[in-house]
Symmetry: C2
Subunit: 215 residues, 2 copies
């Protein structure tokens, strides 16, 4: 007999932020507090049901706006989860997306009693199977960054190579040689100099670059 299932769309939203110590950057995600059973009071991934006439991507983008009040620079489907016992009482299948957003906007995003940002590495004790989902999304982010050019989605329109390199260093959790990093990025061709420079630092002003989509 076919199962009666509830379909939900959730999103793991990543942003780069300062760590608690203030010295280093790390990956953060926004979580929402559940206001009903099951798991009332626990933190969970933002998400909700699919609306009428709305595609899966649209649903993901919508609850990203509803949670963080910003539009994603990157949004991709992650995986669908449907183990029979993952939600007590009901049969729920979750289609999960992951997104990258820019930190300046993320800093201005809503944050109250029921919405708060957490360090992605540290999250634990979430509702449902969301601990495992966050861990999987982190793994996907790391593997994707190492073979694709998505890191710029964490940054604004213009950025220096040092900023871009720092994104890679935080995500991949390893230091990168500035000289070799520069060559790799330049050889790739998807990032081009704007001609402008970033002034105000206490050293030689670095060039600004922007992402160039390859047609």
């Amino acid at each position: 007999m076919p199962a009666e299932v509830d379909l939900a769309v959730s999103t793991v939203i990543f942003a780069l932020r300062q760590s608690d110590d203030g010295a280093s950057s790390s990956l953060w995600i926004p979580l929402v507090r559940r206001i009903r059973e099951p798991y009332e009071g626990r933190w969970a991934l933002p998400g909700g049901p699919l609306e009428d006439g709305e595609g899966l991507d649209d649903a993901a983008a919508r609850n990203l706006v509803e949670t963080t009040a910003l539009s994603p620079t990157y949004l991709e489907q992650l995986y669908s989860f449907g183990t029979p016992d993952r939600s007590p009482g009901a049969r729920v299948v979750s289609i999960v997306y992951w997104a990258l957003v820019q930190p300046e906007e993320a800093a201005a995003a809503v944050e109250d009693e029921n919405v708060r940002w957490f360090e992605a590495e540290q999250v634990q004790g979430l509702a449902f199977d969301h601990d495992a989902i966050v861990a999987y999304a982190l793994w996907r982010l790391r593997t994707k960054v190492s073979y694709s050019r998505v890191a710029h989605a964490f940054l604004g329109e213009e950025f220096t190579l040092a900023q871009l390199r720092q994104v890679y260093e935080v995500v991949l959790q390893q230091r990168l040689d500035p000289a070799n990093f520069r060559r790799q990025v330049e050889a790739d061709g998807t990032v081009v100099p704007t001609g402008r420079h970033l002034t105000g630092g206490r050293h030689r002003p670095p060039r600004l670059y922007r992402y160039q989509e390859t047609p």
Copy 2:
């Protein structure tokens, strides 16, 4: 208002078979004929509803058995499709899996008026958005083969390196140097010689290998 959705699980099942000309191998998939509207009479991916108490992976494995009467050597989730208008009349979200099966078994699989194998490259005019899904599954197979070791899933327990190389050549659509292919596979370490040889050919008997799962 939340949408009323029907959830379906479908699978793109790949096997290696002789092409129509009999000379070369290519990728084949089994399709089933639809026996009701919409798209009655058209070919479609095997699939069906999620059963009570059954996980998504289980559902995919089950309709793989029901279609080809064999168990998968490889089974992985592909993507979830949920465009509002993809199924006339109803709102259907499909969670699609892809599988690799061994050709000897696939040759013995059911094949009748309503189940038939087609060359994956050639399929066209399928029901729903299944043309696009097959194309996406092909793309995923090709990219995955080029960075992962899944090709052996097309073969039996024991195989020669020439057979394994032919799998890569068919999937990637390019000739590979036998000498360099051997070195790459041996360096990887996931494929080990059994000590046995394949006799009966009209030349030097090649060694037999088996896949060694890395613990």
